[in-house]
Every structure is written in structure tokens, then in C-alpha cells.
Amino acid sequence: MSDIAFLEPDRGIIARRGEIAGELARLVPADCLVTSERELVPFETDGFTAYRRVPLAVVLPETTEQLTRVMRYLAHEKIPVVPRGAGTSLSGGAIPQEDAVVVGVSKMTRILEVDLPNRAARVQAGVTNLAISEAVDADGFFYAPDPSSQLACTIGGNIGMNSGGAHCLKYGVTTNNLLGVKMVLFDGTVVEIGGKALDAPGYDLLGLVCGSEGQLGIITEATVRLIAKPAGARPVLFGFDTAEDAGACVADIIGAGIVPVAIEYMDKPAIEICEAFTGAGYPLDVAALLIVEVEGSDAEMEAMLARIVEIARTHNVKTVRESQSAMEAALIWKGRKSAFGATGRIADYICMDGTVPLGQLTHVLSETGRIVADYGLRVANVFHAGDGNMHPLILYNVNDPEEAQKAEAAGMDILKLCVDAGGCLTGEHGVGIEKRDLMRHQYSKTDLDQQMAVRAAFDPGWILNPSKVFPLDESRGTKVA
């Protein structure tokens, strides 16, 4: 694939590679700087692997102070900066450019404070999502957002992309679970926003920073909300003959006043792929599968599940599988959780992330199938139905350039469909470079200008992650370059 354009790199900066490396070496310890061509390769891309650019250098600061010095220097020299968490972005948010210095948070991995009475943890930006929950598990708490990459992805990256996960129906996404950040601005200024108090003075900068894809500053510390673990959690699995029945079931569960912790949807191709890989015992004679998870004490869960099963029966549910033990519960989740990995074994795929109003789910599903079929490709759908966040996996062969191009084009058509159905381009993966040029489909020029004016309030020189989020020809990046 090569459809997505990159900024023309600044030859003047590239020519000064040696000098810049030398200056950076004076600012951070030797093991915090990567400049050799071979060692730079791992930083050339992220989870959006179709695009690669080797950066000028990589800095991995250990402290906010080191980062401050680095940013001051880079701002003075007008060298672009690309922030990086664990590099798991699916939208190319951390893909560098040849004239940019990557700033990674992988050496900032300390949990600084766990404050249980105030249900908060203060952590460095490179701490992984899962590590937070693990650190407080024994005390009966967890950190709620749970993106699929939670074993690897960092809290800094989660904040950059406002990451979600399967359980946001009940607990919300990153922005709803973030209490404060320490952030270094483009010129090295350190700001602290929020903290353990729920209201911070002034405008809601914390809300603005969350999901800003590294364009407003680089996070070095975060204070996050810890939540008491539920007494228990239990899923039920439903199989339906039609997508319409499954969709109507979701609507009725919510209409009945029940907000489960998760409602996950899989279509027939996804069921078949996951079953072949995991042998989780998913029914193969159904068109759609729902996994609905509830939380509470045993008695509460039984009562809730009875209500949910009753609703499913009014929608011609064909298969009902309840879990009587932790093992059975794990088996129900096993297929869903391995969906991306299982899909990757049978084909290359690109994962879309559009979100639509719940009432549009079945319409968008059937249109998605039609779009992909028109390109002569296959699609598997596995997604968070409770909040309308769709994840069509478009299957293709990465070694066939024509097919790859078709897959990308189909993906873009699907995202436009989501927007036209009243939804948005991305629910939790971010815009990155992938969806940058589709922003015009969702927003008018004035809408984008307003966003870019706010961006410029933080980074007037357009140094931070300059070629992301906004259409390349709209962004100041092109004017600066």
C-alpha cells in the first residue's frame, strides 16, 4: 500500500543528522539515545505496518527533566517530534518521518503512587495498561479501560488515543478514567493538569489532551481512577440466525434498563475463524453471536442473566450458552479475545474502527458486507455492539499490491458509511495517518480550522506529530515544511 502521503522531509534537518545526534547525546544518557541505522529500524512503524519511515533519531528519556531538555533543544531547532508509547497504534499514530526525532516513553515505567483511599494511581507514561490493574489486583481494584493490546500498550499511548476496550459500555474509555497528567509542551514547559480532585481550574485541558494523538504535548505521568472490582463477572453466549435478530436483541436489552458490562458481537466469518483457532465451542450454524457479560454477586448475576436470556428468547435466539464456572466463562471469552490473532493466521487484514448509533448497527453491517464483496474481498466483523464501535476486519493478501489497495479502499468506503449513518471515523484507534484524509468527510473546513487553531495554541510551530490527524494539505505542517 502506498496511497497515504507523507510530508516531504526537511533535507536540511536530515543533512544535520550527525550534529543533532551529538547534541542529543549531551542531553540524555547514552542508553537513552538511538541513532544507529540498524537500531532505528524497530521504530520505523507501529501497529499500522503497511507504512514505514526510519526516523532521524530516537530518544527514550528516563525523567521529565531529561525530556524537558530534549524538547527545548528540538523546539529551538524546529525539528519535528513523534511521541511513541509501545508502538501498538493501529492508525499509524506513532509512525515517524525521516526528519523527525521519536520520543518514546519506554524507560518511564514506574508506578509512582497507589492511593487506595482516594482510588487513584499515579504512574509514569510508559507503564503498561495491564500493569496498573495488576499492581492493585490484590487490593481488589482495577483500571477499567482494557484495549486488546493491554499487555503491551502504555498509559501514555492510551491517553494519546483515548483508548477503549471491551468493557467501556459500563466503565467508559480513557478520558472517563483519567484524573490528571504531567505533560511536557513543545518548548519544554512542564504543565500539571488535574490530579486527585475531580474539578481542575479553568478549561478542561485534561479532556482536550486525551485523544489528541501526541499533538499537544508529551505525557510523562498520569493519575488514573482505580475502580473496586466487581464481586464477580459472568458472560452468556447467544447465537442467532440473522444479524437483525442479534441487533434487535441488543436494543431490547438496553431498552429494558440493563447496561451489561460488555456486549460483543461476532458475525459468521468471525465465528468460523475463531472457532477453528481456539475450539471454544462456538456454534457454527448461526449467523451472529453475542457475548453479554454482567457483573455482581452470584445471586445478582443469576437474576440479571435470567432477564437477558428471556429477552434473547423473544428474538429467536438459537443457541444459549451460560457459564457455570470460571472455566466455562473463560472459554466463552477465549474465541472473542483471540479474534484478531486468529484472523491474522488465515489472512492479512486491516481493522476498521468506525462507530455508529446503535440503531444503525444492522444496516451498517449489511452495507459493510456489500462494500467488501464489491471489491471481491472478505470481511469478518467482531466488535463492541453495546456502544456501536464496529471493527470490520477486511481480509487480503499483503503480497498482492492490487488486493492491498482494494482493502484500503474498501476500508475507507466503510468509514464513510459509518459517518453517513450518523457515526464517526474512529471510536478508539485514533485518526493517525490512516484516516487523516477522511476527516473532511466528517468535519467541514471551519470545523477543522477550529480544531487546528486549538492545536496551534499548544504548538504554534506545528512540531509535535506534525503529519497526523488533519488532512495533509490542510495542516500547518505543510505550510511550515
Partner: protein, 400 residues
Amino acid sequence: MSKADRLQPANEAEAADRIRAAAADGMTFAIEGGGTKTTIGRPVFADKVLSSAKLRGITAYNPAELVLTALAGTPLKHIEDELAKNNQRLAFEPADHRPLLCSDGDPTIGAVAAINNSGPRRIVAGAARDSLLGVRFVNGRGETIKNGGRVMKNVTGLDLVKLMAGSWGTLGFLTEVTFKVLPAPEIETTLLLRGLDDAGATTAMAHAMASSTEVTGAAHLPELAAGRLTGGGAATALRLEGFADSVADRMARLRGLFDGVADLAELENDESRALWRDIRDARALVGDGRSPVWRVSMTPSRGHEFVMAVRMKTAADAFYDWQGGLVWIGLEGGDPQDDLIRTELARHGGGHAMLVRADSEVRVLAPVFQPQAQPLEALSGRIKAAFDPRGLFNPGRMAA
């Protein structure tokens, strides 16, 4: 201001025209919804009032989608009534400021967004800003801007929705807002722990929030406040909501946590709802209707220490919401004692002390909103300029 100084655009396009014209003439606007909170913030001296009064109506609401869109001037009451017909509600429990401010009028849904109006349930369901999914507004250049949308997960571009929430009409004129809504619970029950002191209550509330009982409100009324709302001595209130069987199950577990710690009593449904409405609206501090009232958002475990420190210096009437992290303080006389409040807050972990009620002469002089640290203040100034370069909207309301 006379009626002629009051603009009530009938639609967004007219609002944009008016604002463009004002920008050209160098005119300024005081932004108004129902006009029930005009006494919060620094007094605004503007040429005209720009009101959302004629922007009324629910534009989209499909209960199964858990999303509601309404024009900014729609009365909150109308929205709550429509939601109630479908057993739904705004989860963040917006407060009614009329009792405390002795004001009248109809609070609007636009103002709920503009001031990030959030009540007791914020500690589990988030604030108004967490439920606000999308906005339309006119900026200070007279341009119509859309941000966010009608979906629950959305990371498409910069989240200007959050900026608009709590900006008190200083960034733009809201014309339409979209909120996530949630099912209303079948029942609610409140457990009252009687007779705890402020420190003991803080520990008890943290204990409850650390349990798996899904408490949706944790407030503490010291003796004086409790006397006005519940009768009897100090009362620590813990609320459970949900299906009847589930609430009963969790109530048994919640009671188990406090056996022998305090005398326990339960308030059910209407009684419980009335108590939380009073806590939400700070009715315990209505008093003479004019003496200073502070709303202090801070680290929950430090709230009671902060109150004690303030009380060492002055007579203060206080109660706690948000597990101790929201301290309401009423002072006697006319002096807001902002130096004392903010100095003690800084000594107790910092946060946001806001002077919710005070005479206008006082509000001209004392910073009503918590002053920001310098680099953040500079950023906020640049953000304001990015929306409203000529300073048309609510000049001076948040900061001098």
C-alpha cells in the same frame, strides 16, 4: 439591560449572523440560557445579552440508542420529563442552583453543558462532560462549529466537546448538545450511618467505595447540616440503585461493612431521592440566601482536614459529597475569605475552590474560580483566543 439589549436568535444561522455583526462592531455579549445562574462567576459587563431562549426542542431521541440531542435553550425539566417517560435519565445528576442562589427561571440543557453541571453520582457515572457526546456552537468569528457526535466512542480529531463543557459561555454560543443517557434504576435505597465524625465518615465512605457494592452516592452531613436535611445527628449517606433484587443483595453486603461501626438506618425511594436532591442542590447551606458559599473540589481523604483547618480560623458550616472530595462551605457575614480558603486548600493537596454564592461587589474583587498555575493560564488564554479572538463572549466571567 433593556429588552432591546437582549438578542434571542430563533436559530443557529441567525445567531451566527448576530455574532458576526457584533464582531464587526466591537460589541460584547453576556451569554444566557434560563438566567438562573447569572450570579455565578465574576459580574459580566457586556453590551448585550445573547440568549438561547428561543432555541428549544429535542432534535433527536431514540431511547434504544441511549442518546439525546436537543437545542441548547431547551429547559432541562422538559428533557428530564421526556427521559422519564422512557425510564431513562442523565446519569450525572445535574444540580438545580435556584434554591441556593434564590433565582428563578428554567435552567437549560445548554447551561448544563456550559457549566459542566454534575451532582452526587459523578463519582461513579462521571460528570456532565463525560456524558456530553457532541456540540454545535457559534465561535467568536461567527462561524458555526460542530464537534463530537451522537456516538459513545469517538476519538475523531480534537475533543472540543470537553473544552466547551465547563467553559461558562466564554468560548462560544452553544446551539445544540448531545448527551449520552442511561436507564433509570428500578429502585434506590440509601444507607445512613449515624453519628460519625467527619474523619470517621471519610474512612467509612472510602471503605464503601472500595467495596463491590456499587455505591452511586457517598456524602457526609455533619450534625448541623444533617439537622436541616434528615433530622437527628450527623449522617453519612451511601446510595445504592438498580433492580430491586440486586439492591437488596448489595445492601446486605454494605450493611455488613458497617455492623457495629455506626447506627444504621435506610431511606427508600422517594425519601432517598429527596435527600440526594437536597445534597445535590446544597440546600443545607441556603441560609440567609446571600452569605458566601464555596464549592471545593479536592482530594477526598483530605476534605475533612481542610474543613477543620478553615474552622480554626473562622465559623464555617460544611458538608461533604463525592466521598469527601466535594466540600460545600457556608461562611457567615459577607466576607468570602478567599485567601483563607485557597491557602488552606493548597496546604491540603490543592484542587478547585469556587465561590458559588456571593454579592456582586464581592465577586468583582475576589477570584470566583480557582486561579490557574501560570503556564496553564497562558495556555487557556491562547485557547480562548483560538475560539473568540475579540473577546466577545462573557468578558471577564471566568477570570479578570
